[in-house]
Symmetry: C2
Subunit: 540 residues, 2 copies
């Protein structure tokens, strides 16, 4: 046997040993591109057993988010009988039933804003966990049979909101035929509140009664919930404390928009439930989430030393990388471990889709800074809607577009391997609601297992408050500035404003940034100064 | 003075010293969030002077891409008189004129496929440099006044192509009113060729003559050029050897789609030309590209040690991070430096937009693995189409949606700074065609200067061929498999196929992957085996 043969045949053995096939799920996980040394798995096994224990406690209703004193119940959403509380079970069940009834009623034209106009468009207003899940699902499930057109408003950018409203106006039916879902778990998310107010104003400008178009998804009793009751919105759907934003796609947050679009949400939930059953296995080789968590640990040194590049070779999964960016980075990006030690954990995630990204940055992946591992997502079925018996469309004799897509994936994987760049390959037989549910469930569990392996809490986000507080401080400064400019009615410089009231002392940089923004929007006027910093501002 | 005051006032001094304002360009670069030590700039100055020399040579027509023996002339596209060759000048000029004439004729309905149908939709087929630029421009310039609706096909995913065709069918006019631009510099890009064939087939299925809808953008004499001539396409626009894909947005690749959408391409080019003039300055403090290259060098250790997170706080600039991902990673991700030493250079780039991304992964940025620096892109003007004299829309008394956007940017920046995370802030007064041109030009030059600082060539991409070759190998293997299965007409296993012909020896893994893909698309049939690897396959 010559060396080349040895290497090829050992590669085949390696592939057969490390390509984990889960036929019932239509799913395979190929770890042959991650060079885990012999013994690594058995060395990690005790920690995995601990992870399985932790997951069992979590699923049984332990307080897994101690910061907020919350249970972590996203696994209950697809298998309500797991929920330890009977009331919770009933609420999950009844919410799914109400979503099915409501979406059916909208589709049949029974629920509508005015007698003559059926709802044909859906606008979802939300941000973060309240937007990315529905956005992913809308793109992944899009088909010529969609029941409604989906639009999203996921920021407090007024120009961006105007852009969404322009696109809605251009769609059949326009705003009059648009059902708007406002999603905020806490009911107090400012970006979402602002989007809601801007969109309500657009309805008013169009002579429409916005409350007959608005639906709320929020925790019962929240500010948003009260508003929706007070303003007599079309409907309200509950969200619960035990569901984190980044894992809320299987609550009303994801299910209501999906059902309206025409996706089979029962199948979506069933796929997740089936995957959950598989990833509950204590036999590591039969647990894809545990296996993937091991691969992450090996590839990143258990310390985020490598970035995770996600490359689905399927246009409809393009947002999956962004979805994982949120799920992984918000769950794993933690300062302290469970013992309180500073560890600065996390894994950076990015990527769009193959083979498109090959033309953007595979140059660097293959030859440049070696700070990443790749996850290829392969989908075996090429196209959905080929009529039975229709001739295949060949781009060359016997070769189809999808063969190229597949060959580019294999080719890039092997070109990276030749340069010692590691990769995971996930193979899906096809993409449908059931598979999407399974895929998301697999990653949710992987994140949980990985967090356990590195000893951190995946279910809180203590670091996001500081930015919000600082933003509130900036708005407070803006308020002070405007008051001061109104009060004095003479032009004031940054330094003069800083000296004017205690709250503005030492805040020159923020004052300057606020004034610059107000001036650009014609809310204050800038007088000339010898430079930008000595200019004076006054109210217009 | 108490310590807090010292720190606040020194921050203000630091800001004033490091916030570089270029008023004529409506542009500022704030490097106060990058802790460059005193002396760093003067230490780097000799290398910058060398970078300026190199850029001068490049602009004068030196062979800056020695691999392909090519000049690098993207700066000429916006200032043709820089081109050393008179013929090149004339070609650039005449192409711009032809684009303006063609798009005007389409808008007036003079250029049309059939007498009754005006073109109202544009479909761009291209990948990498031939897609991302036009996609960025389409999103960044979108307005209610758009002359045509823009669609893109940027992959060889047949399901994705079907999806684009579904969306076109739903748009006013449908495919019959769609002008299709096929862009490939070499004229041989397989993804684009496949998209072209699939889309041409869709026109045929709809009873339309595709050649009356097709326009080619390619190097004269290419395979695609010959095809367009032979099939009598509507028109052809040239691309040149001296323009790299990732810097082709100011050639016909970007200009034709932009002009069709209704963007003022003369302003776009003028903005780039004005920025080029600024970034030609040999006075480093007056050269934003040089300053930014210094910041990159300091932040990444000149060795890609930190990722670059791009956060534009403006929905219409969301694709800018992807555009930079391509520009930066393909330019800087290089194995060897100019002396041939292995350096594995590059900077990983990712990001989407603020404040949306704050809800996705600022948790990790603030507290988790410290492997990045952030670039904030701030836009001062909040919304474009506010009618003169119309009342401002307040979300709270005196507070507008855009104030929140601005406050979230300032708040996040300060929360990151508190944790020692570095950031650059780019401020734009507004976004229009001129500003977009300037912004792109600034980054093109920064990449060039940075490459010079670290001693690599930014203008070639030697690493991308390996994946393409390997993909061609996979398709060759598929062909051999199909031939062998046809020839023997009995079911064969992976191992049997590998043993059957020399070209398949030792290729078991690839054979398995190819068979799995063919079976999922009903092109071969899989017989049961005791496991996936012992199954046999035959032609259906």
């Amino acid at each position: 046997m010559n060396p080349k043969q040895t290497s090829a045949s050992s590669r085949w053995l390696n592939f057969k040993e490390n390509n984990y096939i889960f036929s019932d799920l239509g799913f395979a996980l190929d770890l042959s591109g991650i060079a885990m040394p012999a013994g690594f798995k058995s060395e990690m096994e005790p920690r995995l057993q601990k992870a399985y224990d932790g997951m069992q406690h979590l699923e049984s209703g332990d307080i897994a988010n101690p910061d907020e004193g919350r249970q972590v119940g996203h696994y209950w959403l697809r298998d309500p009988k797991l929920a330890p509380d009977l009331g919770v079970r009933a609420e999950i069940d009844s919410t799914i039933k109400r979503i099915l009834a409501f979406s059916g009623s909208v589709h049949r034209g029974e629920t509508r804003a005015r007698p003559a106009t059926k709802f044909t468009n859906v606008l979802v207003i939300g941000i973060g966990g309240s937007a990315l899940g529905p956005q992913l699902a809308a793109a992944a499930m899009a088909s010529p049979n969609d029941r409604m057109r989906m639009f999203f408003c996921d920021n407090t950018d007024p120009d961006g909101i105007d852009g969404v409203l322009t696109r809605i106006a251009a769609a059949a039916g326009g705003l009059a035929a648009t059902l708007t879902i406002v999603t905020s778990k806490s009911g107090g998310t400012k970006e979402t509140r602002n989007g809601m107010l801007e969109v309500a104003n657009a309805y008013k400008r169009a002579g429409l009664e916005f409350n007959k178009h608005f639906v709320a998804i929020t925790c019962p009793g929240s500010e948003l919930d009260k508003l929706a009751i007070g303003e007599k919105w079309l409907d309200r759907f509950p969200l619960w404390d035990f569901v984190g934003g980044r894992t809320s796609i299987m609550s009303a947050v994801g299910l209501l928009p999906m059902a309206l679009q025409g996706t089979n949400i029962s199948e979506f939930l069933a796929g997740a439930k089936a995957m959950d059953a598989q990833t509950r296995s204590r036999e590591t080789n039969r647990n894809p989430a545990a296996l993937l968590a091991l691969a992450w640990h090996h590839a990143t040194g258990g310390a985020g030393k490598k970035d995770m590049v996600i490359l689905p070779y399927k246009d409809r999964l393009e947002l999956f990388s962004r979805y994982l960016q949120q799920l992984v980075m918000e769950s794993l990006g933690k300062e302290k471990d469970l013992t309180g030690r500073v560890v600065e954990q996390g894994i950076a995630v990015y990527g769009n889709k193959g083979s498109t990204d090959q033309h953007a940055y595979v140059q660097q992946l293959r030859e440049g800074v070696h700070n990443f591992f790749v996850t290829f997502v392969e989908v075996l079925k090429d196209r959905g809607n080929v009529a039975e018996g229709s001739a295949p469309f060949d781009v060359e004799p016997g070769v189809q577009s999808g063969d190229y897509l597949s060959a580019f994936l294999q080719g890039t994987r092997s070109a990276l391997r030749d340069k010692g760049r590691e990769s995971v390959t996930i193979t899906l037989t096809h993409v449908d609601a059931r598979m999407l549910g399974a895929l998301i469930a697999m990653y949710e569990r992987t994140v949980g297992h990985y967090a356990s392996l590195v000893g951190i809490n995946a279910y809180h986000q203590p670091g996001v408050e500081a930015g919000k507080k600082a933003a509130a401080g900036v708005l407070n400064i803006q308020n002070r500035i405007l008051n001061e400019l109104k009060r004095t009615a003479v032009p004031l410089t940054v330094d003069a404003l800083a000296a004017s009231v205690p709250e503005l002392n030492d805040e020159q940089e923020t004052i300057y940034k606020v004034l610059e923004h107000l001036a650009a929007n014609a809310r204050v006027r800038k007088s000339s100064g010898k430079d930008a910093y000595s200019a004076a501002y006054r109210i217009i």
